[in-house]
């Protein structure tokens, strides 16, 4: 308790903390106003004017950019294909030149470099639209990935790492879907009915794909462990973690209910448990990340609850199944909360 108390009073005052303290200490209006005054939380004239200036800047940029986009959309069909390419490639050149001019370590430079990477994607998409060669869509993501790889390595920027991870995962999923294991008629029907996201989910249910996704995302995490963590940032690791957890868990659950146990099924189940145990150990003792710990725990809860649902015979137990499963979820959530609490307290004691 003493540790938590010290931890709290060493934190900087914020408006929400001030209100929380005022309620706990039952302060009157006068004392609360003094608390706010001493904390210097009340907005100053400088704060107001700087805020208004920033809002004006954002709104102005948004209006001008939207105006240009509307103008281009209106004339897009009548533009010659070379003009379209010229516009997008000028975008690439200008953003990269600005990134170089501003410096890739500075915020404006980072924004320009990321915009440049996005322009590359737009150019490739327009290329695919104009020259419809019949090439598979995975080619778009793979080419985009190849073009931005060098920038990602050089710039060491969180947003570019995230783009890199997303493109790697999408390239693999589309390559698998189009070359290795083309969709069945049911898959095509399902995706035309419910959209492409359902297709991704169906694909992730195929046993080898989640394992491959796990391998590539674990590789990113290994790179993260041995490189400059600060430059990569936690967002990239989290995206990578989610990209590994969701397909693995969904495939494990699908396997559980469809009973399609082949040699890959056992491997998938072993990988699921091995990676969750490894993840819980890693994010508690090596890299304190409560978000990914919570995701792994949620994956475990989903899997165990699905297993219980499958094992419970609803016909025999009837309405008592609700009671039994509800109790199981309660115990699992309680245990997850306990694990998160000790992970959080470990993290705080290190900080």
């Amino acid at each position: 308790m003493a540790f938590k108390m010290n931890n709290l009073i060493e934190q900087n005052m914020t408006s929400s903390r001030a209100k929380l303290i005022a309620r706990t200490l039952k302060l009157d209006e006068k004392s609360y106003n003094k608390l706010i005054e001493k904390s210097e939380l009340r907005p100053s004239i400088k704060f107001w004017l700087n805020g208004l200036d920033r809002v004006l800047l954002i709104v102005t940029s948004a209006f001008l950019l939207s105006g240009i986009l509307c103008f281009l959309s209106y004339n897009w069909m009548s533009l010659h294909k070379f003009v379209k390419f010229a516009l997008l490639e000028t975008g690439v050149i200008i953003t990269i030149a600005m990134a170089w001019y501003k410096g890739i370590d500075q915020l404006p430079g980072k924004v320009f470099l990321f915009s440049g990477a996005m322009f590359v994607g737009f150019s490739l998409a327009v290329f695919g639209q104009i020259y419809q060669t019949g090439a598979d869509p995975y080619g778009l993501f793979l080419s985009w990935l190849i073009f931005v790889t060098a920038w990602t390595v050089i710039a060491k920027q969180s947003a570019l790492y995230v783009l890199f991870i997303v493109l790697s995962n999408l390239s693999l999923v589309f390559y698998w879907n189009q070359i290795i294991s083309p969709p069945s008629i049911t898959d095509v029907w399902m995706s035309s009915l419910f959209g492409p996201l359902v297709r991704l989910f169906i694909d992730s249910g195929r046993s080898y794909l989640p394992l491959l996704l796990l391998v590539i995302n674990l590789s990113f995490m290994v790179i993260y462990e041995f490189t400059n963590k600060k430059s990569i940032g936690t967002l990239a690791v989290r995206v990578s973690g989610i990209a590994a957890i969701i397909p693995l868990t969904s495939s494990a659950v699908i396997l559980l209910f469809t009973d399609q146990w082949q040699s890959t099924g056992n491997l998938l189940l072993v990988s699921f448990f091995a990676s969750t145990i490894l993840g819980l150990w890693y994010f508690r003792f090596r890299c304190h990340d409560l978000f990914l710990t919570a995701c792994i725990l949620l994956a475990l809860i989903v899997f165990i609850t699905s297993f219980l649902l499958k094992s419970t015979d609803f016909g025999k137990m009837g309405i008592f199944s609700f009671f039994f499963i509800g109790l199981a979820v309660l115990v699992q959530t309680g245990s997850a909360a306990y694990w998160l609490r000790i992970t959080n307290s470990d993290r705080n004691s290190i900080q």
Binding site: I9, F63, A336
Partner: protein
């Protein structure tokens, strides 16, 4: 965020005699609630577990209710359990469990009313029940999430009453009233810190504002072509909402001790009037600006982000739904951008003089 730590500020206040000397002990005993219980994703996981297990448990009760007893009895049992739990237990898990019990209890009671009522005015009766119940219940339960959700239900019930009693012309004044009520609560919050209901007041105010955004979004009917002709039936007088919101903003701005209003009243009034006049048909824009302004004045971060998000959304909807060709829209947008660029230039020159 302040540059000073909580401990430093409280020690200063203790020296000047503004807070009690035993503040360390008081805070220490309440640390579990004061110290952030964990990031949002941790709360989300715990909340998810609480919802799922409670819903399964309620599924068990509903199945039992169909055979033994009836919905009314189980509804009262669930509401009673949530009330008792709210007095005995605290923390994210219990808060969510209480919420599920309370919502299910309400659901059971509403089912009972709907099932047993043979009146043709069933929607009026349900609307009145929802409004009255959700005005009283949060003050009995005193949990923040329930308070927030109750206000949303209250606003929904109110809208149902207006439609059921065919008082659609009053829809235009609901959002300004909710804005006025929310701002009134938050501006008087500091007078009630000693009271036990103090902890739910920000949630009540936020719930009212959130509902206000929901109702005012009806005024953006023009983005759907099929609704455009029936606009006056969906949201009768959008201009009235704009005017009332503008009056509310002026009222609270003039009452607050805010430095922007005190030092630059003409500029503040002028800017708000200009925005109000140009977006008279899209009251959501002014409503969002009002929420942001009140959020800054009373330091409610959630309100600031809510206002900025909805402000951007309503502006996009307004421009998207305006009856113009793409090329005219392009000229209008670029014209607005250039005008704002000029305004920013003038603003920056004045800003230097003020600061």
């Amino acid at each position: 965020m302040s540059k000073k730590t909580i401990g430093f500020i409280l020690a200063e206040l203790e020296q000047s005699g503004d807070i009690q000397k035993n503040w360390r002990e008081v805070i220490s005993t309440e640390t579990d609630h004061l110290n952030l219980t964990g990031p949002w994703h941790t709360s989300l996981l715990i909340g998810f577990g609480a919802w799922l297990s409670s819903l399964l448990f309620i599924g068990f009760l509903s199945a039992l209710g169909m055979t033994v007893g009836g919905f009314g009895i189980y509804g009262i049992i669930l509401l009673g359990t949530s009330f008792v739990l709210s007095r005995l237990k605290q923390g994210t898990f219990w808060d969510q469990t209480i919420l599920v019990f309370s919502l299910s209890g309400q659901g059971f009671v509403l089912t009972l009313i709907a099932k047993d009522s043979h009146s043709t005015d069933i929607f009026k009766i349900l609307g009145i029940f929802i409004v009255v119940f959700n005005l009283i219940w949060p003050f009995l339960l005193r949990t923040r999430t329930q308070a927030f959700i109750s206000m949303i239900f209250f606003a929904m019930g109110l809208m149902q009453i207006l439609y059921a009693f065919e008082l659609k012309f009053l829809i235009s004044i609901v959002s300004p009233l909710l804005f006025f009520a929310a701002t009134f609560i938050i501006s008087n919050e500091s007078k009630l810190f000693k009271n036990s209901i103090a902890k739910i007041l920000p949630s009540i105010a936020s719930g009212l504002l959130f509902s206000g955004f929901g109702i005012i979004s009806l005024s953006a009917y023009y983005i759907f072509e099929s609704f455009a002709a029936k606009g006056s039936e969906i949201y009768p007088y959008p201009w009235l909402t704009s005017i009332l919101v503008l009056v509310s903003i002026f009222f609270f701005f003039s009452r607050s001790k805010d430095i922007l209003f005190k030092t630059q009243p003409a500029f503040t009034f002028g800017a708000l009037l200009l925005i109000g006049a140009t977006s008279l048909k899209a009251p959501g824009i002014l409503f969002a600006i009002g929420v942001t302004v009140v959020g800054v004045v009373y330091m409610e971060t959630l309100w600031i982000w809510l206002g900025l998000f909805f402000g951007a959304l309503f502006t996009v909807l307004f421009l998207y739904g305006s009856d113009m060709s793409l090329i005219t829209k392009s000229y209008v947008l670029m014209g607005l951008g250039v005008s704002l660029l000029v305004i920013r230039k003038v603003f920056n020159s004045k800003k230097m003089a003020i600061t």
